[in-house]
């Protein structure tokens, strides 16, 4: 038995709101520059919008539950699917993953805070106000139909639909302005993460000793800087078109609607990797701990990450096979899209190899990660199918595409977001989440997920187009749509179990201690929750698993890594 004590001071008592009074407590959160508090704010903000976006999804599914249904009007339906997509990508996916990074990256690299704490606060508040501005659109104007001016042009806002002539009012303006504000926040966080990871690592933490989550966030931050900028530029161009009579996207006046599609997908496809790479990072932290083995093929995981970074910048036009590209362009983007499956496949094999022969513990975080691995394989396979241009010509804008990207966004990303919350909740709050409720959450959500998105592939193959308000009863889609909608309700029940678990565990969860999972990265060397300064003394590491070295002084990793 190898016990060692690391004299890291800090409070272990969980702070109670009542001690300093509500207003003082509230003030402390508003003026905070502490990366941990800002990380919590990001996650709380995103979870709120996850519920909002979820409610919108439920409205969409109720509307599509039966043929010729009129649960909402066509105009409101357009607003719902636009806001659902925009919310889930910009107000849930990115902020929550950057929130996790905000919280754990400085801890993982042994730093006391992010490189630019004030910029960190500015970035969060820009993101938050961007979301508020977007939702203010529901009440911020009469709009055309008495339903406010919520955006209704799809989350991709294709030109020329966004032109003043086709979308009068302020719906599109709200979309562009809110995302510009949130986009600046995202850029600030990305700059901060790059600076923190490059320059704030503790002694001994070379690049190749960084936890994989940190590596992934470095890649994601770089990707964010490259991809958010064209989107912001395009949105500014759109506003110039709409407010100043510009013609960037007006084909009849010498512009090109196609430019918008290029700009959007130059952002949009790497954005998928901006969302999924942190999910990969989460899996790469959780799977080894719950397999009781070091990650298999650390170097190849890093290499695959870098490969994905570059290749993901060269695949955007696979969203555009139906707009009339040349054969050479199509061939290039088909091949590039297929090539990106290689580094992704390497990651899958490495996670499997990590689990292989390990002593697996199927606690809730691991359950979500295992489901992620298998669901992501399916998502990848349908992605390769869609990468074949002739297939895409048949399936483009069908529910098959919706099923594919929900397999990525929910089956991979949301599953790993839940895994991360169950994994790091004890560190953040000092309390464990209920395993019993966690397993209920997993199995109900898992069943709902497959009930929803598996038949969605079939209904897409049967020709159901995306974004339609309703459908005739004689297309053979009725039963499948009913099943899909029931699945959505089952997922919603799973999310409610999660919310209940979160609230209950915050109040009554059992004490976690500093290292409840017997893990190996530096964040578990601090008290739970960590003190404001993280580490009273700067840590020094000699391997990729510093806590392993401490726990196994006779058999430390650094003997093998040097």
């Amino acid at each position: 038995m190898a016990d060692q004590t690391l004299p890291i001071p800090g409070p272990t008592e969980i702070p109670r709101i009542g001690t300093a009074g509500f207003s003082e407590w509230l003030h402390s959160w508003i003026v905070t520059v502490d990366h941990k508090k800002l990380g919590i704010l990001y996650v709380a903000y995103s979870l709120f919008f996850l519920l909002v976006g979820g409610v919108e999804a439920m409205c969409i599914r109720i509307q599509l539950m039966f043929p010729h249904n009129h649960f909402v009007s066509p105009q409101v339906y357009d607003e719902l699917f636009t806001m659902h997509g925009t919310t889930m990508v910009f107000l849930v996916g990115m902020p929550i993953l950057f929130g996790f990074a905000n919280y754990v990256v400085p801890l993982m690299v042994g730093a006391r805070d992010m490189a630019f704490p004030r910029l960190n606060a500015l970035s969060f508040w820009l993101t938050a106000f961007g979301g508020i501005l977007l939702y203010f659109s529901f009440v911020g104007g009469f709009g055309l139909y008495g339903m406010g001016s919520a955006p209704d042009v799809g989350w991709f806002a294709y030109a020329p639909l966004t032109a003043k002539a086709f979308t009068p009012g302020h719906n599109t303006d709200y979309w562009a302005l809110a995302l510009i504000v949130a986009g600046f926040g995202t850029l600030g966080t990305a700059i901060n993460l790059v600076a923190t990871i490059i320059s704030m690592r503790c002694r001994g933490m070379t690049l190749f000793r960084m936890p994989l989550f940190v590596w992934l966030m470095l890649a994601v931050s770089g990707l964010t800087l490259v991809t958010i900028t064209p989107l912001t530029a395009a949105q500014v161009m759109l506003l110039i078109d709409r407010y100043l009579g510009g013609h960037f996207f007006d084909t009849q006046a010498g512009g090109s609607a196609l430019i918008w599609i290029h700009f959007f997908w130059i952002f949009g496809h790497p954005e998928v990797y901006v969302l999924v790479l942190p999910a990969f990072g989460i899996a790469s932290e959780i799977i080894p701990v719950f397999s009781r083995k070091a990650i298999f093929g650390y170097s190849t995981m890093v290499g695959a990450t870098i490969a994905i970074f570059f290749i993901s910048l060269a695949v955007w036009a696979h969203h555009m096979f139906t707009v009339g590209l040349t054969s050479v362009s199509i061939a290039f983007f088909v091949l590039a899209t297929m090539v990106i499956a290689v580094p992704t496949g390497i990651k899958i094999f490495n996670w499997l190899a990590t689990m292989w022969g390990g002593r697996l513990r199927f606690d809730t975080p691991m359950l979500f990660c295992v489901a992620f691995v298998f669901q992501f394989v399916i998502a990848g396979l349908t992605g390769v199918i869609l990468a074949v241009a002739p297939w895409d010509w048949e399936l483009h804008n069908s529910y098959f595409v919706i099923a594919h990207f929900h397999y990525v966004l929910v089956g991979a990303i949301v599953f790993n977001i839940f895994a991360a919350i169950y994994y790091w909740f004890p560190k953040v709050t000092g309390r464990m989440m209920s395993e019993k409720l966690g397993k209920w959450h997993f199995w109900v959500f898992f069943a709902g997920f497959h009930l929803t998105f598996d038949p969605m592939h079939v209904v897409g193959l049967l020709g159901m187009p995306r974004s339609i308000y309703t459908y005739p009863a004689n297309r053979g889609w009725n039963t499948l749509n009913m099943v899909i909608s029931i699945g959505a309700f089952v997922q919603a029940i799973g999310v409610l179990i999660f919310v209940w678990n979160l609230i209950q565990s915050l109040r009554h969860g059992k004490e976690a201690g500093n290292d409840p999972w017997d893990a190996w990265t530096l964040e578990w060397a601090t008290p739970s929750p960590p003190p404001p300064y993280n580490f009273a003394v700067d840590p020094v590491v000699r391997s990729r698993r510093p806590l392993w070295d401490i726990k196994h002084p006779d058999d430390p990793d650094w003997k093998y890594e040097e």
């Binding site: 070091a294 297939w391 000699r542």
Partner: protein, 292 residues
């Protein structure tokens, strides 16, 4: 402890640490920026309001960091953290030769793959051009078929047009053919030593037939024009010509012996600790697992 440095970062009497002080200016600046843009969809007064907030936020922020960044002293609370594990016993996965019974004991040089690829490419071209000569009286037919697959304006093309000389198609065909032959040659270098028996038969006959079948199954979808003009029996013959010639040349080259006991990652040159258990300095945490 040796692994943990106690670098002094404390200030004052060592009982506190200074951190950036909390500030409200970032939220004010963010609010101002949002208001500035929100004025576009509401009223210009909102933009003016936002501008005032931006100026106030910037001025306040500058005061926070100039001439010196403001900090607050956070007292250190002594509370030792115990880092221990209940899984102290480390179990190693024993790696024996039986883990990779089919691993290659040797491989061929990369140059062999290049030579095999070039020779196979020439051999492959002979039946392809023969086919063009016999069926369409033109050696350019097969070349144009390959080159035509890589250009954009190949729709409703006639057999007569394919049979005539086009320098662009020749250029494209040469590039595609050259790259593919070299890559397959290199693939043969990696694969041949791993096949248990009759590697040339497997790579020269079985693999080309399987490969042709795969291409036949999807080419109709991917490039129907090209698929309609291909003679599949001749296609298989040219693939076999490549496989046999490249396979023979590569298999007759001198083998480079490698240790079959080394795992794939190690043979690829990755430094992954503990891939072997017999050398304690090269042992692996990958092979380690804990028991309660």
């Amino acid at each position: 402890m040796e692994e943990t440095a106690h670098k002094g970062a404390e200030h004052g009497n060592g009982q506190s640490i200074h951190l950036p002080s909390p500030t409200g200016w970032p939220i004010m600046l963010a609010f101002g920026f949002t208001m500035l843009l929100a004025g576009l969809v509401t009223t210009f007064m909102i933009s003016i309001f936002g501008f005032v907030f931006i100026v106030a936020g910037c001025v306040g922020w500058f005061h926070d960091v100039l001439p010196h960044e403001q900090h607050e002293e956070v007292p250190i609370l002594e509370q030792p953290v115990v880092i221990t594990t209940s899984r102290a016993v480390v179990e190693r996965v024993k790696l024996t030769g039986e883990h990779r019974p089919h691993a290659a004991g040797g491989t061929s040089a990369v140059m062999a793959g290049i030579q095999g690829g070039i020779a196979g490419g020439i051999a492959m071209a002979i039946p392809a051009m023969l086919y063009g000569l016999i069926t369409h009286h033109s050696v350019w037919y097969a070349i144009n078929l390959l080159g035509g697959a890589g250009v954009g304006d190949w729709a409703h093309v006639t057999a007569a047009a394919i049979a005539t000389f086009h320098w662009q198609w020749l250029l494209i065909a040469c590039v595609i053919h050259g790259i593919m032959c070299l890559l397959v040659g290199l693939l043969f270098v990696a694969m041949l030593p791993m096949l248990p028996r009759y590697p040339v038969v497997l790579c020269g006959l079985v693999a080309p037939i399987l490969w042709s079948g795969i291409i036949h199954s999807f080419l109709g979808f991917v490039n129907p024009e090209l698929s309609a003009h291909i003679s599949w029996p001749w296609f298989v013959v040219s693939q076999i010509a490549f496989g046999v010639v490249a396979g023979l040349i590569i298999s007759r080259q001198t083998h480079i012996h490698t240790s079959k006991h080394l795992p794939l990652a190690a043979r690829m040159g990755f430094v992954i600790p503990g891939m072997t258990h017999h050398d304690s300095d090269a042992g692996t945490p990958h092979g380690e697992k804990e028991t309660h």
